[in-house]
């Protein structure tokens, strides 16, 4: 065994990784994104990995902790990966119980380095939301563009009224307000990430009652309902989230998708391994990946390039630059005691 170890030490180490999904793959969002990143790493021969789907319902919650304990106890893995804002408390318990085991948690800001064996990656979805807000606000009165009306109303269909979603929202609202103070944002929550039909009803109401012509869906699969509403009425555009929905949609829906806000979980995981191999580690730290690090971003090829007038594109790119260089600091809804997002949301509701 010792000869193996020295031999391996010569090469780059092949890590054995387990990824715990507290939901299911196929979300076309961060779990799939994480999976894609791991797959790429495995294909490159840098890791071996196993993904465990633990299910995402409240009834599945006991499994999350149990499974964490199980994989930590197994001691076979160089790194245990999990994600989402629902995991930190469980992780804290297990990471404390197994101080020699390394963990990574993504898409969470609340863990914040309680254990020296955990690296915590988060994504500045508020920054990304800001760019989308700028884009939408700039577009909504561009009547030269097909389907756009003069009314300055855009829509936001959220999966539920809670901090992560509202972190997207607050960026969106701020971006829109900064671009055009007259813009109204019709915000509604489906209360479910799977009820496409209700999301569709809400989007239809936004389009028909309030003349919204751009709708950002931040509601998992429910978001598709909003896209369909836009397509069917022929009076609005859709903006996707998490992954590039112009690629995942069929041609019709992709055709009315202006862009997508990206949360690059996979990229960030690859980035961590790059850093690790390069000798830079972040154990015990929160790594908040923003636009600069490629943790978040917006899709700028396809419809963004083809549909948006140059002036609009420039505004978005300028905002991106400003955020990157720190000129613009986007507030966050996470850990915000004042709940500023609610006041802003109500103020901008048409």
């Amino acid at each position: 065994a010792s000869t193996d170890a020295t031999a391996a030490a010569g090469d780059k180490k092949v890590y054995n990784v387990v990824s715990l999904v507290n939901g299911n793959l196929g979300d076309k969002s961060f779990f799939d994104s994480a999976e894609a990143g791991l797959k790429a790493l495995q294909d490159a021969g840098r890791i071996t990995y196993k993904t465990i789907e633990m299910g995402g319902t409240d009834e599945d919650q006991p499994k999350w902790l149990e499974t964490l304990y199980e994989v930590a106890e197994a001691g076979e893995y160089d790194l245990i990966i999990c994600g989402t804002y629902q995991m930190p408390d469980y992780l804290k318990e297990v990471a404390t119980a197994y101080p020699d085991q390394k963990f990574l948690i993504y898409d969470d800001t609340s863990y914040v380095g309680a254990n020296a064996n955990v690296v915590n990656i988060s994504y500045k979805q508020n920054d990304m939301g800001y760019l989308i807000g700028v884009y939408a606000a700039a577009m909504t009165s561009e009547t030269s563009v097909q389907n756009m009306n003069a009314e300055k109303v855009v829509g936001f269909v959220g999966g539920g009224d809670f901090p992560v979603i509202n972190d997207f929202l607050i960026g969106f609202l701020e971006g829109a307000k900064a671009t055009d103070p007259e813009v109204k944002v019709d915000t509604r929550y489906v209360g479910s990430f799977v009820d496409t039909a209700t999301a569709k009803e809400m989007a239809l109401s936004m389009i028909n009652d309030n003349k919204a012509d751009i709708i950002w869906g931040v509601a998992g699969l429910s978001g598709n309902g909003a896209a369909e509403a836009a397509l069917e009425t022929g009076k609005a555009w859709f903006i996707g989230v998490d992954s590039d929905q112009e690629q995942t949609f069929g041609p019709e829906l992709a055709g009315i998708t202006l862009t997508s806000g990206l949360k690059n979980v996979g990229t960030s995981i690859i980035w961590i391994f790059d850093e690790w191999d390069a000798g830079r580690t972040y154990w015990g730290q929160l790594v908040n990946l923003g636009l600069t690090e490629g943790g978040v971003g917006i899709v700028t090829d396809k419809n963004f390039a083809n549909v948006a007038p140059k002036a609009v594109q420039d505004k978005v790119l300028a905002a991106e630059a400003a955020i990157k260089d720190g000129t613009i600091v986007v507030p966050t809804a996470i850990g915000d005691d004042t709940n500023a997002v609610v006041a802003l949301r109500d103020a901008m509701q048409p």
Binding site: G26, K28, D32, R188, E201, N224
Partner: protein, 318 residues
Amino acid sequence: MWDQLLSTILKEEFLFSVIRITAPILFAALGAVVASKAGVTNIGLEGIMMISALFGVLFSYWTQSWLVGVLGAMIVGILLALMMGFFALKLKTDIILAGIAVNMMGAGGTIFLLYMFTGMRGNTGSLMSPNILIPTVNIPLIKDIPILGDILSGHAILTYLAFLFVWLMWILLYRTPLGLNIRAVGENANAASSVGVSVLKIKYIALALSGALAGFGGAFMSMYYSQGWNSGMVAGRGFIALAAQAMGRGEPVGAMFSSLLFGLAQALRTKVSGLQGVSSYLVSSIPYVVTILGLVIYAASTIKRVKKARAEHSKAKA
């Protein structure tokens, strides 16, 4: 704020959406009606809708025909209902448990089936394209009537079918021998079997009808309401349908009005959620609160009516 709400409600589009929201619930509610008339509580409607919604998409994708998709969904609905029937009627599994089992299959089993058939996870992505969606139709004369035309015309074929089924269901139950058998079996199975009516057969038929209707409801969900299937998309509509059935006292027309009431509440919720400063959570509970209230008012009025009738009746005698 209220005038804003009012202005959105006083639109044709609002009533149009009420009808659209009602349709899938109505299908399932009629399914609940026919099953309960035969003495079977079909609590598995939710699961049947989920599974047939999935197969509706798959069939229409495979054949590139919406019609085949809808029929496929219907057949899957029938098969599931018959399976429930086999266990509940033949093997005497508690019907509620059989229903829960079907709902389980609808929740997780669908994801597994989708994976088995297509390798996709969680949703059917772009399998469903607009050209194989259930088409909408404009009704020739009605569409030109102001207001009414905007409310009644332009719905999906299946929407009209749902309301047509209310009438057909009534005919079936009250004007055909099969309906007579169904009612007899549901009310007194011994009586039916003593005259040579096969209770089992009738219950199977009623369940199959129930499954077919839920299948239509499922197809409506994934092939019109949404373009494609995703896990959890039926989101409790099968249960709501049970409520509609009960609130409508198990009658087709009653179930239709209850379904409409629910559709109305749900449409209202959509509108109210667009107002400033409302809690999306409390707003989301509107349809359910309305259903309970509807049930209460209905029950209370029934009691009152009975009491009043009695009072008048004694007065007349005095």
